[in-house]
């Protein structure tokens, strides 16, 4: 219920940095350091084999142990983190930028343009995302290009749809009409009036898309249609190590834990205040 005496209630500045956000940001920061600096500091080649150290436990020779070919887990994990996280970031950026721009355009212009974009997005939405990726992958199996393109093609629709609906809602508001009467142009209205209001929802959406992309890349690699071994990719690593679960359970879990920590960090960092 609205309170008519709004002026009497002192304005409280809500702390932006909630404990959940801090945890999430710290987690993301550590993971970023691991992914960026790890490959530089650990000079071991992630594909170098040493059969004497096959399935070595974490210890002084191999800090996080070695896999069945005796490759350093630390090197493989940090390379894998860089690859997975980098790919996810690129995929989401490729999906978000056109998605948001087309959404704004469609909300602003309406008419045939909106109908056309709606048709395209509905058709793409009707195709299962995985199928789209698989079709594209058929052209060049085991490479990054089609994987990335396929994921971006399925992910942009969410950005487009959410932007269009929320921006259309903002554009109908009285203050936008007032801004137009005051002489403000389209650019100002979209940039300064619409975007700030829909930003929180887009950030949340981006975090979800990022998680989806990471899990999709790992899943596809796990079922051997994504990146191929010996590329150190987190999903592929899990599948490679799975047969040795009985001897070295920790090794199988490590790539999974890394994915889990990243998704958790993303969700915590972008949690809304109300949660």
């Amino acid at each position: 219920m609205s309170i008519a005496d709004a002026t009497l209630i002192p304005t409280t500045k809500r702390a932006w940095l909630t404990p959940a956000r801090t945890t999430g940001l710290v987690l993301l920061g550590l993971l970023a350091l691991f992914a960026l600096l790890g490959p530089l500091l650990v000079s071991v080649d992630p594909t170098e084999q040493d059969f004497a150290a096959s399935l070595a436990s974490p210890g002084s020779d191999y800090w996080l142990g070695a896999d069945h070919y005796g490759r350093s887990m630390l090197a493989r994990l940090s390379h894998g983190a860089r690859l997975s996280f980098g790919m996810a970031l690129l995929t989401v950026a490729t999906a978000a930028v056109p998605g948001i721009l087309l959404g704004l355009l469609s909300a602003w212009r309406g008419g045939w343009l909106e109908r056309l974009l709606e048709l395209v997005s509905t058709v793409l939405l009707a195709l299962p995302g995985l199928l789209l990726v698989l079709i594209l992958l058929a052209f060049a199996p085991g490479t990054f290009g089609p994987l990335y393109l396929g994921l971006a093609l399925t992910l942009w629709i969410e950005f487009y749809r959410v932007t269009r609906v929320t921006a259309a809602g903002v554009l109908k508001q009285t203050h936008v009409e007032a801004a137009r009467l005051l002489g403000f142009g389209t650019g100002y209205i979209l940039r300064s009036l619409v975007l700030p209001e829909i930003r929180p929802i887009l950030i949340t959406l981006a975090a979800f898309a990022m998680s989806t992309a990471i899990i999709a890349i790992s899943t596809l690699s796990a079922i051997s249609v994504g990146l191929r071994p010996p590329t150190p990719e987190l999903g592929a690593m899990i599948v490679e190590l799975l047969p040795y679960y009985a001897e070295a359970p920790l090794h199988v879990l490590m790539p999974g834990i890394l994915i889990f920590l990243l998704v958790l960090g993303l969700q915590l960092a972008t949690r809304s205040d109300l949660g």
């Binding site: 219920m1 309170i3 709004a6 002026t7 009497l8 002192p10 005051l182 002489g183 100002y188 700030p196």
Partner: protein
């Protein structure tokens, strides 16, 4: 049919509402008993709504109430949150502002009233249906039980809300601005209904800024200013012979008591339209309507709600396209010199921008200096500290003055005021119109105002155009 009324009186004394270490409402005391409703008058920001929420136990977080609020012998401030919630609806009910927003838009009104009998009182479907029909028949809606809220007028929605409180059997009714946004005829209907509630023995506390409502309800009137009750007494005494300076100003600010306005002769026409017609679906709003607004005159459009008053102004501004007819603006005037003032001031400002940001952007766009805006702010009695607040943190009256200031910065020749003061208290309304009239006089502004307040239009308009329902 009505649940027995269990409580005899509500006593408030030494009520204080604090936000952290600042006291925002202090020393509020009054007693409300059978047949003697209390009406609190005051500007928005005077703390009158907070008093209602303190009694209800629904203060926003961060605020706390102290003092004595007793319903007979029950101390309302002492109970736990669970006890407070248990009273809502059953003992104390609030009639919301703008009830069409408080009712469930997806549910027929029979369901909204019936579910109270069904689930709160635990009656069977047949009995609940019968009680529901009785409740709705009593407020004169016996034949509309199948209607959805959007099919009813604002006044009817308010009556549905009253029927719902009947069904719950609340003995204390708090009506928070019950007539906000209603035109005179609907307003009188709601006031009559509230009077009947009092006659049936319910305790009634009304919060309003409309003096007509306070006068019609009778009983006791309290006037609030800056968080204190500055005047309290029987209605006719307060209205005829107010003691406190602010109470006098408030009562004198009722449009019926304004002095008549004499404007210099109007100049050339700025905008005119001929043969306008507009329909929404099957309904014809107007057909063959002519209007012209000249420099230095005030034209008022009056009529009941929903008759298309606002649409005419929007057509003149080019915001709505008429089905037929033509609009001519006098040539060579920049489009930004045609401006509009909105009914709901917070809606006219971007909610996430501070006023400093939105004014800064406007001044930059039109290459104006801050000094000019600051000079006008001083003239309109707006403090510099308000600039760092967001629209939701400024009172309606202040925000409407900001809206006028914003429009006047662009040196308008035509201003369309769409119910611009209907949500403001009389004192603020008078101040706002003083500023507008000054602009009309000094700058030759052509003012088109839409209002449902006939008295206001008669006092200040040079010409009045009446629209039929």
């Amino acid at each position: 049919m009505n649940a027995p009324v269990r409580f005899q009186s509500l006593t408030v004394s030494g009520l204080e509402i604090r936000a952290g270490n600042t006291t925002i409402v202090r020393d509020v005391a009054f007693t409300l008993s059978h047949g003697r409703p209390v009406t609190l008058l005051g500007a928005s920001g005077s703390g009158k709504s907070l008093v209602a929420h303190a009694i209800m136990g629904s203060l926003p977080s961060g605020l706390s109430a102290r003092g004595i609020v007793k319903l007979d012998d029950d101390d309302l401030l002492a109970g736990s949150p669970t006890q407070t919630r248990a009273r809502w609806g059953r003992t104390i009910a609030i009639l919301p502002q703008e009830p069409w927003l408080a009712l469930d838009p997806t549910m027929r009104i029979e369901g909204q009233v019936g579910e109270i009998h069904r689930y709160l009182h635990g009656l069977g479907p047949a009995e609940a249906g019968k009680s529901m029909r009785d409740d709705l028949a009593e407020v004169g809606l016996g034949d509309r039980t199948k209607a959805y809220p959007h099919e009813l007028s604002g006044g009817m929605c308010q009556r549905v809300a009253i029927a719902a409180t009947h069904a719950a059997g609340a003995s204390l009714l708090i009506a928070d601005e019950p007539t906000k946004g209603l035109d005179a005829a609907l307003r009188d209907g709601v006031v009559d209904r509230l009077r009947e509630e009092v006659d049936q023995g319910r305790l009634l506390l009304t919060i309003t800024h409309d003096i007509e409502v306070a006068a019609a309800l009778g009983g006791m009137i309290g006037v609030m200013l800056d968080g204190s009750l500055v005047e309290f007494g029987p209605a006719d005494e307060v209205l005829d012979n107010p003691q406190h300076e602010y109470a006098r100003a408030l009562i004198a600010a009722n449009p019926t008591r304004w002095p008549a306005l004499a404007l210099p002769t109007a100049g050339e026409p700025i905008v005119s339209a001929t043969g306008l017609s507009k329909r929404f679906g099957e309904r014809v709003l107007f057909d063959g309507f002519d209007i012209a607004v000249r420099r230095g005159e005030i034209v008022a459009i009056v009529g009941p709600s929903g008759c298309g008053k606002t649409t005419i102004g929007n057509i003149l501004l080019g915001l709505v396209r008429p089905d037929s007819g033509e609009v001519q603006r006098s040539p060579g005037i920049a489009a930004t010199r045609f401006q509009k003032l909105y009914q709901d001031p917070p809606a006219a400002f971007a909610p996430h921008q501070t006023l400093r940001q939105s004014f800064g952007d406007l001044l930059r766009l039109h290459c104006l200096a801050w000094a000019q805006a600051e000079a006008s702010m001083r003239r309109f009695g707006l403090g510099q500290e308000l600039l760092d607040r967001r629209p939701g943190e400024v009172s309606g009256g202040e925000l409407q003055r900001f809206a006028i200031l914003r429009a006047l910065l662009l040196d308008p020749v035509f201003l369309f005021a769409d119910e611009a003061t209907s949500r403001l208290d009389p004192v603020t309304q008078k101040e706002v119109f003083a500023i507008l009239i000054e602009a009309v006089r000094e700058r030759g502004l052509g003012l088109l105002m839409v209002t449902h307040e006939a008295a206001l239009a008669e006092k200040i308009a040079s010409r009045i155009l009446k629209l039929p329902a």
